[in-house]
């Protein structure tokens, strides 16, 4: 069954520096890093101590709350440093790569005959489980719960992210294997969404429900699609996997190798040669950013997209789930009478002497300035224009702030993830940290309701 999903509310943020569709193999990184910050809510228990030799796909740490959920090394090499913070919290595990890569051999399964438990067991033991996330709460899925459906969004609508049609070309076999396997883990359906005008390699897969998505961002966000296809009710769980992670899962199922290779888009207005790079999860960001080149020295590097990514230093690492790296100028400068002068070079959803409404296709070079100071919530109605879910955005944000669990539940917290509030955060005149508020709200619910 195929449904068309047409989204009207939203905002396409068009930025300069879109990656050109050329893929270069990135120089091999010396050091790779696993960062627990990528795995929200996971407390790591370290297995591979400093000095341990690992093959690619061997366990580095596992989740303290569920020992079955393992996190594996993307490369073979030696654990050279474990960086710890307060209370000995693990901040990063650094692995220096071998010259010659060797892979841990996982057993493979016959996809046609394998049972759900076989597949689940393989995904857990091989370290592919962290690619499976769940709603509610937007965290790594609990393997003990069977989801009512699995959702995959192969339509990226956020600014400067990798184009799935391009990076997934030729990966049909792996995708099919992963989808077939995941389909056995749910009693419901596997929903795959592709762009309305795309020629996605996912469109021809068997055993899926295909949906065609059109409209402005956040039409590519999985929550937006879930709300249209099969909304999450209290007590229900759905899983989500990103298409590029499906490829890793698929390859593992077919060959037994955990191949952490991935194609990432490197873009941003100040990137000299914005294009795609074939690299490995957890590699040094420098391995792609030096080749792409960045103008000036006052910039911010982001692993992920500008709306939801994480700021990193030039010596930082590619995030576990990210498929793009973005560089934008820092906005740490004052602007003379910036609150009252006409604005031509920034995006706005109003027309308050702001002129981005005049040319919807213009691309912008936005920086990290907040364009104003933090204030109490004052304006109303502006979030709703960019928020396609049937949820009251300001009311749910406030419920999170005053931590009323009943109200959060009633207003639809089970259906949202922080990324859904990236656009409301973008347009907010009060410059409130929406994503942070929602993340804290979800964490509170995990703690209190579970």
């Amino acid at each position: 069954m195929s449904t068309d999903i047409r989204i009207k509310k939203g905002l396409d943020i068009k930025l300069k520096g879109k990656a050109e569709k050329i893929t270069t193999k990135a120089v091999a990184s010396n050091v790779y890093s696993l960062l627990p910050v990528d795995f929200h809510g996971i407390i790591p228990k370290l297995i591979a101590k400093q000095g341990a030799k690992l093959k690619a796909g061997e366990t580095v740490f596992y989740s303290k709350t569920n020992e079955d959920i393992k996190f594996v090394s993307p490369v073979s090499g030696e654990v050279t440093e474990v960086i710890r913070g307060e209370k000995r919290k693990i901040l990063a595990v650094k692995i220096t790569a071998d010259k010659e890569q060797s892979y841990q051999e996982n057993k493979t399964v016959n996809l046609a005959s394998a049972s759900a438990d076989d597949i689940k067991g393989l995904l857990l033991s091989s370290g592919c489980w962290p690619f499976v996330k769940q709603r509610p709460y937007d965290v790594i899925a609990n393997p003990a719960v069977s989801p009512k459906a699995i959702f995959i969004s192969a339509y990226a609508s956020a600014p400067l992210t990798a184009d799935y049609d391009y990076v997934l070309a030729g990966k049909e076999v792996e995708l099919q294997a992963a989808v077939t396997a995941l389909g056995k883990l749910t009693s419901g359906k596997v929903h795959v969404s592709v762009g309305a005008k795309s020629n996605s390699s996912l469109a021809g897969l068997n055993g899926i429900d295909l949906h065609k998505v059109s409209g402005p961002h956040p039409s590519g966000n999985i929550s937006t699609q879930i709300a249209q296809i099969d909304p999450i009710n209290k007590g229900e769980v759905v899983w989500t996997v990103t298409p590029q992670d499906l490829v890793i899962i698929g390859e593992l199922l077919l060959t037994g190798k955990f191949n952490a290779e991935r194609i990432v888009a490197v873009g941003g207005a100040i990137v000299k040669k914005p294009k795609y790079y074939k690299t490995i999860i957890g590699s040094e960001i420098a391995s792609v950013i030096y080749d792409a080149g960045v103008e000036g020295d006052n910039f911010r590097l982001i692993t992920g997209n500008v709306l939801t990514g994480r700021a990193i230093n030039p010596d930082g690492f590619l995030g576990y789930y990210d498929n793009c790296v973005t560089a934008i100028p820092e906005g740490n400068d004052y602007e003379l009478l910036g609150w009252t002068t006409p604005v031509f070079k920034k995006i706005s959803t109003t027309r308050a002497l702001t002129f981005s409404w005049m040319n919807k296709n213009k691309e912008y070079d936005l920086n990290t300035n907040t364009n104003g100071e933090h204030r109490a919530f004052v304006l109303t109605g502006q979030y709703e224009e960019v928020f396609p879910l049937d949820i009251f955005p300001m009311q749910i944000l406030k419920a999170c702030m005053y931590q009323d669990l009943d109200e959060m539940e009633q207003l639809g917290m089970y259906e949202v993830a922080p990324e859904d509030f990236a656009l409301t955060e973008f347009v907010c005149v009060s410059k409130q940290p929406h994503q942070n508020i929602i993340r804290k709200g979800l964490d509170l619910m995990i703690k209190e309701i579970g």
């Binding site: 500008v306 906005g331 009252t340 509030f421």
Partner: protein
């Protein structure tokens, strides 16, 4: 830029002190701050609260200047120095410098008192509580001089502003937290504390009160008076102004409320710039028209006779209500205050409609004070959270129903 660097250094020096918000309040007017995104989205939209508030002020400035001309014009008409306008909106009788200067020197002190007292309190509370000075009073500060009678004594205005800002806003936690519109609260305070300065036929034309005193002291002068049209209607007097006069605003009234034409232009600007809620504006106009139409029908059916004291106000054409008194000003600039209005889109329709409806109801049935929009908005401010509650509950119920269908 030496100035920029010097100010930056000063800002760093004040950081963490009580002076920081005070300095910041002025600094951020000159320079938009160098704050960068720390969490969530790395880029942000161009609008901030200052820009938003500034749009409302821009929409109010034509009214302010019109009010200055009108103050002089009404004064000169009352003293017989100028004939009533006869040739449309751009009549020379109205747009004369002698009119302007009278109004300018009367209204400027109102603005100064409003801003100095109001912002002073805001800055005091910001320094005391260690938070940034929020922009809410920028708009309130200019609204206040526009909705008071021109001859209001400055000390009364100051007392009212103190009351409005402290009781109306700061006790709730400042901008964004208040229940009642502060500007209207200030006006309501004046109205109930000093009613003789807020109604009657002596306060709407500058010089009238003084002249009355001089006459009482024995001076041989003609009395000046200028009743608002609503006041005249409430007392069964004849109205001497044409409909066009009402539309253009060449009539007595509070400083900025008279020109429906300019208010209409302001409304279009606010709707175009997406700052004002068109839902509230439109629905309050509809609400007022409906109530006015009902009253017209009551007259047409003969339920109320000419002898009734309500007859004159009920009998004016239902659409003329939009031109009279402070209705247009209230509906466009007051009812749309996002903090005190309904916050949901559906709620805004209900909220606006009831404001219009109740405004005209109070206007007709309250002979002591034939202007209802102030009280109607304050009343609906109180009910706005209730309206929102039911709108939000609709969403909650829809979600629960979905769950029930599922489990069945």
């Amino acid at each position: 830029m030496a100035l920029k660097d010097n100010l930056h250094n000063l800002k760093e020096k004040f950081k963490g002190t009580k002076m920081s918000p005070v300095f910041g309040a002025f600094h951020t007017f000159l320079y938009m701050p160098n704050d960068t995104t720390q969490s969530g989205s790395h880029i942000r939209g161009a609008d901030d609260l200052k820009r938003t508030m500034n749009m409302v002020i821009i929409a109010l400035i034509p009214l302010l200047f019109f009010g200055m001309f009108n103050a002089g014009y009404q004064h000169h008409i009352a003293t017989g120095e100028v004939e009533m306008v006869s040739s449309g909106f751009f009549s020379a009788e109205f747009w004369s410098l002698s009119n302007f200067w009278i109004g300018f020197w009367k209204i400027l002190p109102l603005i100064i008192v409003s801003y100095v007292v109001g912002l002073g309190i805001e800055i005091f509370f910001a320094a005391k509580n260690g938070h940034e000075v929020e922009e809410g009073y920028l708009v309130t500060g200019i609204l206040v001089p526009l909705i008071v009678p021109i001859d209001i004594p400055l000390w009364m205005l100051a007392v009212a502003v103190i009351f409005g800002v402290v009781i109306g806003k700061e006790v709730f936690g400042g901008t964004g937290m208040n229940i009642l519109n502060p500007a209207l609260l200030i006006r309501a305070f004046l109205f109930f504390a000093y009613p003789t300065w807020m109604s009657g036929d002596k306060v709407w034309v500058t010089g009238a009160v003084e002249r009355t005193k001089e006459i009482a002291d024995g001076a041989q002068l003609d009395a000046i008076s200028g009743e608002t049209i609503l006041g005249a209607l409430a007392q069964g007097q004849e109205v001497v102004y044409s409909t066009w006069d009402m539309f253009y605003g060449f009539i007595p009234g509070s400083v900025g409320e008279t020109s429906t034409l300019l208010i209409l232009l302001g409304a279009l600007f606010l709707i175009f710039s997406k700052i004002g809620s068109w839902r509230i504006m439109l629905s309050s106009v509809v609400g007022a028209l409906v109530m006015g139409f009902i009253f017209n029908q009551v007259i047409a059916l003969g339920w109320i006779g000419e002898s009734s004291k309500f007859y004159d106000l009920m009998n004016i054409e239902f659409w003329e209500h939009l031109l009279l008194g402070g209705f247009a000003f209230g509906a466009i600039y007051m009812a749309t205050d996002p903090v005190t209005a309904s916050q949901t889109n559906k709620g805004k329709w209900i909220y606006g409609f009831l404001i219009g409806f109740i405004s005209i109801l109070i206007r007709v049935f309250n002979p002591a004070y034939p202007e209802g929009v102030m009280l109607a908005i304050l009343l609906m401010n109180v009910f706005a959270p209730t309206i929102d509650h039911y709108v939000v509950q609709g969403n909650v119920k829809r979600r629960q129903k979905r769950l029930k269908v599922k489990t069945v």
